[in-house]
Every structure is written in structure tokens, then in C-alpha cells.
């Protein structure tokens, strides 16, 4: 059985938390004591019927204010798949937490309130999903019960969304009319919307193909740690511990070490101290090379005839996440890419992307919290990267503030 990570996005009160609660409830994944706890909490808040959103709003201030501030992870399973659901906050001010949750997602469910249609947060979250290269997007048009379960209402919003999506890079889009509150088209097919003949939400979640989304082509392995036991029997042992970011590696493969460019051959691949034949995407293994080359944390081992770009000049889309300081040309940060860290300086903000129209805004001086822009930067050491849209794992980077040490930017290298 495999694993699917998905995020729920959309504006405040569109029903994200309720939707996750509903999925858990209808797939019988809420345990008796958790149910009692939310029943108790619902009663003490006088919300009438039980509020399934309380299942994910776990922080005191979230419960007090009735909003989601930070991402919550919930785990459930059906006979077909295991799921990690990520409930994201809808408020603009917490967009960076949404980006945190979305960065690892295989699929995004973007909720739209059927009464309001496409709104600013729909556009913002769709842009983020597209930039982050989330392969599958489901637009759940929610609260259909409040618009009389009308097919026309659904079609109108669907049309508006498709128009928006045409400006973005969304590979696989599904639109579903739902009621998270009543459970229509979530797990069970709606009797109130007989006109809808497509799949239920759960059915899409259970069947999307995530294996296909992984980059199986480009062999990339970033070295995390060098294992050198230095015991008598393992005197000369030097194993490079890391995770295969993309592609596959086999014993005997010719490889190159970047950024130095040194070439060698894979002598052995190990997992947990035992030899294995090959290692594929996302496996954490240890690679031993035939030659005694100088490799340390931050280096990348790649297939010999398939190199990433090695450069100090990088252009990237950035989501800016610092609520205290702005990003300006000339600022210096630490760039973390794979296991490599390098100081870098911002050369230019090429353009900012308008969240509503997706238009490029020129001559932008600085970026503030949640702004999205294309920037040019130069690193102190060369970085071995692939364009993000080709290789999510090797095209992603973060910016770290050198004084506060906080993560302030999410970069998708172009």
C-alpha cells in the first residue's frame, strides 16, 4: 500500500477543516475518544451540532478564535491507500504556513465556497500550488447545500476556475461539487446532486497515480553525512550517506561528484549495513565509490551523462516569508539547497507576480511577507541544481536570514 500526502487550501471558512473532519469521519478513522472530545468541545462552544473542524484545530488560540493558524497533520487510511492530510490555514497572514504544508504535497484540494465563487485566496493558493509543482489539483466547490445543489452554480464556478487555471501550470485538474458539512460527494456519492456523474473526492484521492510524478530519469544524490567507522575491520570504509532525490543508482554506475566534477564508479550501495543492488527515488542509502575522492556533506553525486546545471548565478521564483524584514536587492542570505549551504546575495528583483491577475509587476523595490516574485541571486559557491519544474527535489532551495537564522524564503529555481 502506498502513501499520498495532500493539502487542503482555500479561503477562511470555505470548509477546509470540516472537509478533513468529514473524510476522517466517513472513512471511520475517528476514534471513539477523539469523537467524544470534539463533541464535548462543540457543546461548550454552543455550535449546535458537532463541529468536525475541531479535529484539526489543535492549538488553544485556534480553538478560541475558531480559525486555523498553522498546518495540522492528520493520518488515515482506507483499504486502498494511506493518507497524510495537511490542513492549511486560510488567512492571508498565515500563507507561509500554507506553503510549508504544500511543499511536500502530492495533491492539493482547493476549496471554493459555492456562494462566493473564485476569490482572492483561490487565486493565491492556486498560484502557489502551481509554482510548487503540486502534480494534482482538486477544486472542491463546497457548501453546495447553500446554493440549492444547483448544477448551474457549479458550472459557472467551474468555468471561472478553468479560465484561471489556463494561466497556470496545473497538470491534472478535477472539479467536484461537494458539501463537507453533509458529506455529499466526499466519500459517498451525493443524492442531492444526481446531475453530477464524476468521481467522489475520496475516489480521486485513492486513485491518482503518484509514482508517475516522480523524476525517475535524472540520477541525483545529495550527500548528507560521511560514514567512517574507523574501526579495525572497517578501517578504510567511507560511505556517503544520503537520499536519492531523483533517478536511480546501481552498482557499477559511472558517476560524477559535483561541484568538483570528479568522476568515479559506484563500488557498492548499502542500506542499513547490507548491500543492495540499486537505489531509487526517495530511498535513504549509503553509496561507496571505487576511487578515494574527496566528498563531504553538501556535495551531489550524479549520473555521469546527465548533469544538472552547476552555477553561482541563479534565477528563482521566491515566496517571501519574513514578517519583519523585506527582501531587497543587495541583501545577503544563506541559501540552502539539498544539503549544501552557501552565502548568497540578491542581485535583482526581476518582477513581482500579482496574486490576482498573475501579471508581472516591474520595478519592484522590495518584497514583503507573502509576496511572490522572480529574483536573481549569486551564491558564494557553485550550486548543482535542476530547474524546479523538471525536478522538484533538486530545484528547491530556502533562504535563511543570517542573523535571526529563520527561514525567510522558499525558492523554486528556474
Amino acid at each position: 500500500m502506498d502513501l499520498l500526502r495532500f493539502i487542503t487550501a482555500g479561503s477562511v471558512d470555505d470548509g477546509k477543516s470540516t472537509l478533513i473532519g468529514r473524510l476522517l469521519y466517513d472513512t471511520k478513522n475517528i476514534l471513539a475518544d477523539q469523537m467524544e472530545a470534539i463533541e464535548r468541545a462543540s457543546k461548550s462552544r454552543n455550535v449546535g451540532e458537532i463541529d468536525l473542524a475541531l479535529l484539526t484545530d489543535g492549538l488553544r488560540s485556534e480553538r478560541e478564535q475558531g480559525i486555523t493558524i498553522d498546518v495540522a497533520y492528520k493520518y488515515f487510511q482506507t483499504p486502498n491507500r494511506k493518507f497524510i492530510s495537511i490542513d492549511a490555514p486560510g488567512h492571508i497572514q498565515y500563507t507561509r504556513n500554507m506553503v510549508t504544508g504544500a511543499s511536500n504535497a502530492d495533491l492539493a484540494i482547493i476549496l471554493v465556497d459555492a456562494r462566493h465563487g473564485v476569490v482572492e485566496q483561490t487565486r493565491r493558493h492556486s498560484l502557489i500550488a502551481s509554482m510548487l509543482g503540486i502534480p494534482h489539483v482538486i477544486v472542491a466547490i463546497n457548501k453546495m447545500d447553500l446554493v440549492g445543489n444547483s448544477e448551474d452554480a457549479f458550472l459557472e464556478i467551474a468555468k471561472a476556475y478553468q479560465e484561471l487555471a489556463s494561466k497556470l501550470n496545473i497538470k491534472d485538474l478535477t472539479l467536484i461539487p461537494v458539501s463537507a458539512l453533509n458529506g455529499d460527494n466526499i466519500v459517498d456519492r451525493s443524492v442531492n446532486m444526481p446531475w453530477y456523474t464524476g468521481e467522489t473526492l475520496l475516489s480521486v484521492l485513492e486513485t491518482v497515480n503518484v509514482l508517475k510524478d516522480q523524476n525517475q530519469e535524472d540520477g541525483r544524490f545529495s550527500v548528507q553525512y560521511v560514514i567512517r567507522p574507523q574501526t579495525e575491520e572497517l578501517h578504510d570504509y567511507r560511505g556517503y550517506a544520503g537520499r536519492v532525490q531523483s533517478g536511480t543508482f546501481k552498482k557499477g554506475d559511472l558517476v560524477k561528484v559535483l561541484p568538483s566534477g570528479t568522476e568515479s564508479k559506484i563500488a557498492k550501495i548499502e542500506f542499513g549495513g547490507n548491500e543492495i543492488e540499486e537505489a531509487s527515488v526517495l530511498e535513504s542509502v549509503t553509496i561507496l565509490l571505487e576511487d578515494d575522492v574527496d566528498i563531504s556533506r553538501g556535495d551531489t553525486i550524479v549520473s555521469i551523462n546527465n548533469s544538472p546545471i552547476v552555477s553561482q548565478d541563479i534565477e528563482a521564483l521566491v515566496c517571501w516569508m519574513d514578517d519583519k524584514k523585506t527582501l531587497k536587492a543587495g541583501n545577503k542570505y544563506v541559501l540552502q539547497h539539498g544539503t549544501a549551504r552557501s552565502r548568497c546575495s540578491i542581485r535583482d528583483i526581476e518582477y513581482q507576480i500579482d496574486i490576482n491577475s498573475y501579471e508581472k509587476l516591474d520595478e519592484v523595490e522590495s518584497l514583503k511577507l507573502n509576496d511572490v516574485a522572480r529574483i536573481v541571486l549569486r551564491t558564494a559557491q557553485p550550486i548543482a541544481y535542476d530547474p524546479y519544474q523538471q525536478n522538484r527535489a533538486n530545484g528547491a532551495a530556502i533562504l535563511i536570514d543570517e542573523t535571526s537564522n529563520v527561514t525567510v524564503g522558499a525558492c523554486m529555481i528556474e
Binding site: 476514534l31 504556513n97 560514514i227 550517506a241 542500506f271 535513504s284 540552502q336 537564522n405
Partner: protein, 317 residues
């Protein structure tokens, strides 16, 4: 009691990987990746070890992450003095067997040194006091990262926490100012005196842990399996009958066939009635159980709706 924590190289990983469901491999690979990030990014990490199933899982993952080398950081146990003897023995044997350095610090010593007041009365527990000992230990060894076995499925505040959870110099977690955590790019940069709590099995459920222990053929402390035991029946919960828990007139001493689902501090960990004597039987019982791990066995979380969040803000694990 005998434990057979197998040498990592005894088990055929390839075989294990072929026969088990994919998601366990994915979770394992992610956890190993996180362990290695800790070793790569920090100077003085530690693995917080309690002798419970989650930290036993962590040890196995760390062994695999660094094989054939040894785990490049010590195991650290904050001993409340109220732990199950079976878990303590297991801890000592395991550390010896894998050649890991073991650091044990006692809540008792902190209480004496600081003149702390212990809770008294019916549900008195040292659970909260552990935080002081933990913070002192972090200071003593200048640990910059502490690996813990917390899982997001355990509790609603934990469900919100990052995998690399930044703590200030007082060990405090600020849920409103968590660092963004993007992709698998963990940011462990800190100033001196601050530290990071790292949770490699954040994305594992209780069942995943049990399935993994079974797949890896790991022997657990005997209290995880059904055995007959004398217990205190208090408010419907079965507590170990030990001198550290004072029964009152409402409590009843009973003898039951039980097992423990978690093995925390005895004062706040309840047993469940069970006849499950093997891992398979335990997994079968948990699969059909309609009550969560903490709901069934932890007494400390049920005192207020935000008990865990408050403890974490104060520097708890």
C-alpha cells in the same frame, strides 16, 4: 528478561523490503534522512531514549542510518524514578548491546538540587518536573539537537509541530512563530544556547510503529505484552500497583491480565486489559480498538484541553 536487538546486518533488508507495504519503506527512508540531517547539521546531538516503543524505533532507525558505523550521538534518558523496571533494564541492555553511550539524569536529583515541590495528592506525577531535568541535561552537555520519538498522530498540539522544532534558550516552543519548513530542507541553524527538538517519526501512526517493530523483528520490553499484574483500579483506569502511587479509599486493588500500550511514567500511564501475547496479537487488538493511544492510557493529557500545548511551551519534549 532477554532482549535480542539484532545486529542490523543480521536481517536481510532486501527481503524485508520486498515483503512489506511500501508506506513503511517510505516512512523509514524519511526518518533515516532526518537522522542523518541531524548528524550532518549539529555538533552535539542526543537521542532521547525512554525504553518505550517509539524510542526503540528511533534507535533502530539510527542504527540503520549510520551502519556499519555506530550511532554518532549518545542516548539520553530523563529518569523520573517512576519508570517501569522492565523498561529501565531494557534500556541498559540495549545501550550495551549496540555500544551506544548512555546518559541518565534523574528527576530526583533535580528536585533535591533545586528544592522543587513535588505534586502531592491523588494524581501526583513527576511528568511536568521532567522538563527541568531535561533542560539541565541539555545545558550540561551543550546539546544542540535532541531527537525525540513524538508522533503527530498522538495528540493535537503535536499534530502542529514541525519536524525540526526550534526551541529558545529556555527550551520553549512558540506555536505561533514556528519556522516555515519547506520540502525536505530542514533549517537547523541556531544561536548558542538555543536548541532544536527533532522528531523523525512525526509522520508515523501508532500502528506504523507496531508494524515496523514486527517487520524489524525487534523484541520489546515484556510489559508491552499480556501478563498478569496487580493494579490499582482508579476512575476506570488500571494503574500499576507501586509504592509511588498512593491508593485512596475509592481505589481498588485488582489482579488483571493486562499489557501497556505506552510505557511512560507509571503515575500517568494506564494498562489495558488484554490477552495479546505476541506482536501480531497486539497489532490485531490495536487495529480494531476504537480508542486512541493517549485516550486509553495517558492520564496527563486529560486534565485540560490544551495540556500538551502548555507543557511544550514550557520546554517539554
Amino acid at each position: 528478561m532477554s532482549i535480542s536487538v539484532k545486529e542490523v546486518s543480521d536481517i536481510s533488508d532486501q527481503e524485508a523490503r520486498r515483503s512489506s507495504p511500501d508506506y513503511l519503506d517510505q516512512l523509514e527512508a524519511e526518518a533515516i534522512y532526518i537522522m542523518r540531517e541531524v548528524a550532518g547539521q549539529f555538533e552535539r546531538p542526543a537521542l532521547l531514549f525512554s525504553g518505550g516503543k517509539d524510542s526503540i524505533t528511533l534507535v533502530r532507525l539510527a542504527q540503520k542510518a549510520f551502519a556499519p558505523g555506530k550511532i554518532p550521538f549518545p542516548l539520553v534518558h530523563v529518569d523520573t524514578g517512576h519508570n517501569f523496571i522492565e523498561a529501565i533494564n531494557y534500556r541498559d541492555e540495549l545501550a550495551e548491546q549496540i555500544g551506544a553511550k548512555l546518559v541518565v539524569r534523574y528527576v530526583e536529583d533535580t528536585i533535591k538540587a533545586k528544592g522543587l515541590k513535588e505534586q502531592t495528592g491523588k494524581n501526583a506525577s513527576r511528568n511536568w518536573l521532567q522538563t527541568f531535568t531535561l533542560l539541565d541535561t541539555i545545558e550540561e552537555f551543550e546539546f544542540d539537537a535532541c531527537i525525540g520519538g513524538a508522533r503527530r498522530d498522538e495528540e493535537k498540539a503535536r499534530a502542529k509541530e514541525r519536524i525540526f522544532s526550534f526551541r529558545d534558550e529556555f527550551g520553549q516552543w512558540d506555536p505561533k512563530r514556528q519556522r516555515p519548513e519547506l520540502w525536505n530542507l530542514f533549517n537547523g541553524r541556531i544561536h548558542k544556547g538555543e536548541n532544536v527538538r527533532v522528531f523523525p517519526i512525526s509522520n508515523w501512526t501508532e500502528l506504523d510503529v507496531w508494524a515496523y517493530l514486527k517487520r524489524e523483528n525487534i523484541t520489546l520490553p515484556s510489559i508491552y505484552f499480556a501478563h498478569e499484574r496487580e493494579l490499582i483500579l482508579r476512575d476506570g483506569k488500571l494503574l500499576n500497583n507501586t509504592p509511588v502511587i498512593e491508593p485512596d479509599e475509592h481505589d481498588q486493588i485488582v489482579k488483571r491480565q493486562v499489557r501497556f500500550r505506552t510505557v511512560g511514567d507509571m503515575t500517568c500511564t494506564a494498562a489495558v486489559e488484554s490477552s495479546a501475547a505476541t506482536l501480531d496479537e497486539v497489532i490485531a487488538e490495536i487495529t480494531v480498538s476504537r480508542i486512541s493511544e493517549r485516550g486509553e492510557t495517558r492520564i496527563d493529557d486529560q486534565q485540560t484541553e490544551a495540556a500538551m500545548e502548555d507543557r511544550k511551551k514550557g520546554g517539554y519534549f
